[in-house]
Amino acid sequence: MDWFASILFGFQITFQPANALYCFIGVFIGTLIGVLPGIGPGGTIAILLPVTFGISPVQAIILLAGIYYGAMYGGSTTSILVNIPGEAASIVTCLDGYQMARNGRAGPALGISALGSFIGGTFSIIILMFLVYPLANVALKFGPPEYFSLMCLGLTIIIYLVKGSVVKAVAMAFFGLILSTVGIDLVSGIPRFTFGSPVLLDGIGIVPLAMGFFGISEVLTNIEGPTERIIFKTKVGNLLPNREDWKRSTGPIIRGSLIGFLLGVLPGGGGVIASFVSYSTEKRLSKHPEKFGKGAIEGVAGPETANNAGAGGAFVPLFALGIPPNVVLAILWGAFMIHGVAPGPTLIRDHPEIFWGTIASMYLGNVMLLVLNLPLIGVWVKILKVPYRILMPLILIFCIIGVYSLNNNIWEIIIMVIFGTMGYILRKFDYEEAPLILAFILGSMLETAFRQSLVISKGHLSIFLVRPLSCVFLMIAALLFISSGFSHYRRVKAKVIQ
């Protein structure tokens, strides 16, 4: 099947009425949760995962992927109008987007954000489409040592990029690895850490864990004292940027697309890092860096393009290698597995309808998002006004129904509440959940690759160093880990966080 025939095949799948509807539902929910601070795409995918059991795998993946990239669009609305990022990838948009709104230019800020997102998103899908196939062919030659080292690198990057303490992130990653070993060991058939409970024989589910850490702990944090959302009273008015805006935004959009995609592909990457790097690049390249933070349109166009390009780029390691590069795609990886589909190099061969259908749905989804985010911006502004006292009970009910419907087992609700409480307490101690969730997802794959590598090498750990690719992955991981201890790194990180 050549490229053209393949993408045509993808569009045939996407344009089936039911699939197009699920694509719309996905991007709509994505925009909604992007707009509403309090629950991110990871939590939403986890909550809605059980809902997808009744639909086909291709519909499920189209829906859930739509939530992910849709959230990137929606997040900018709150950043610009309320100065609260709807999700992490839009944090940097607050700096200039909100200032533009204060200067009476909310319309062009929202407009360039949506148009930049569209361009970045579309660019990343095109590159994704051409990159996955050759990369998957390379990945087919990977052995267990390469997979083990690549997963170690992914975990190291996640740890390296945490906002707070690296040591605490390492602790969370180890805890995630321990949790991933709960349940029957697939090699020996021996139950591990199950305390004799049949509920734990299959291991801890990703859904109760993710919902606990993302849904319940988020709600508990907000119960403490919900933040007052003050929507800046300004006329949104004309959303289309003028000629001068376009002139100033073209460079940032092009650079944002490239930066976003490249950083999205890296394990541990995604929209968040891409938006920060794009912002700092634009500020450095600008002839008027002093205007940044005071309503420079380049500070909105670049990062918003980058976070959407990053969202598309993040699908490359998932589709080509079967390795989720960030937490949200780790939960999507769980969705693949629950639907009996293994993402990775064999995906295109075994399930072309899912691969090409999802790619084509992203094109369609991006067009839908443009329509949802430009003419319908007024609707999202109204939704912003929904008070948290109404949202909180609904989020909790969705979490409960989502977890219960997995296996019709009340103990899964209890497990979710336990992890929710743990997540809330750990947040208080400045522990971030991302390394734990990613380590938990990668844990079983990591263990299998580690054990297989040892069996292949007859017990020689040197197998990870004598294989060139594996050695390179481990060297990069080691360098990153060591550099995170340097004071220069800590200073730069503190500056970025500020």
């Binding site: 180890f174 690895l177 321990i178 090699v187 591990r192 004292g225 419907s405 054990r451």
Partner: protein, 154 residues
């Protein structure tokens, strides 16, 4: 949270890691040539233990150095009662949903949550709960999810 509380988290991690190490030791570690089911949790446990000891040591030394500052720090004012009540409600719901049925128990839970969240008017909380329960029931049942009917058989 202030550094002085890090010691509490470190102690928790030390307990978790010792539990993992002891548990995995019982599972049989095997050797590198023939790794057993306990090897991975054992190595992860060792890793966690090392990091926990480091966190504990760092936290302890900071407490020693900055004892004067620590005394001034008061825990932030957090509505813990509200949090405990919400958690209690969730656990109670999990234990009762199969006995009372989805519709009744979810209605009770939602009403309580709306009140805790700060919805003042009873009729408003009740109406929102009824609407949310009916909508979620219809949507999720349509999607093929089966809910417990409970003793009321509804």
């Amino acid at each position: 949270m202030e550094k002085k509380y890090d010691i509490l988290a470190a102690i928790f991690w030390i307990f978790v890691s010792i539990f993992a190490i002891a548990g995995s030791y019982k599972l049989k570690l095997g050797n590198f040539e023939n790794p057993g089911p306990g090897l991975m949790p054992f190595l992860s446990g060792i890793g966690l233990l090392s990091v926990s000891i480091f966190i504990a040591g760092r936290s302890f030394s900071k407490i020693q150095k900055r004892s004067d500052i620590v005394k001034k720090v008061a825990p932030s004012k957090v509505n813990f009662i509200k949090i405990v009540v919400v958690l209690g409600l969730l656990v109670a719901y999990a234990l009762l949903v199969e006995k009372l049925g989805f519709l009744f128990s979810t209605l009770l839970l939602l009403f309580s949550l709306f009140k805790i969240a700060g919805v003042r008017k009873v009729w408003y909380a009740l109406a929102a709960s009824v609407l949310a329960v009916i909508l979620s029931y219809l949507v999720f049942t349509y999607l093929g999810i089966r809910f417990p009917t409970g003793i009321f058989d509804i």
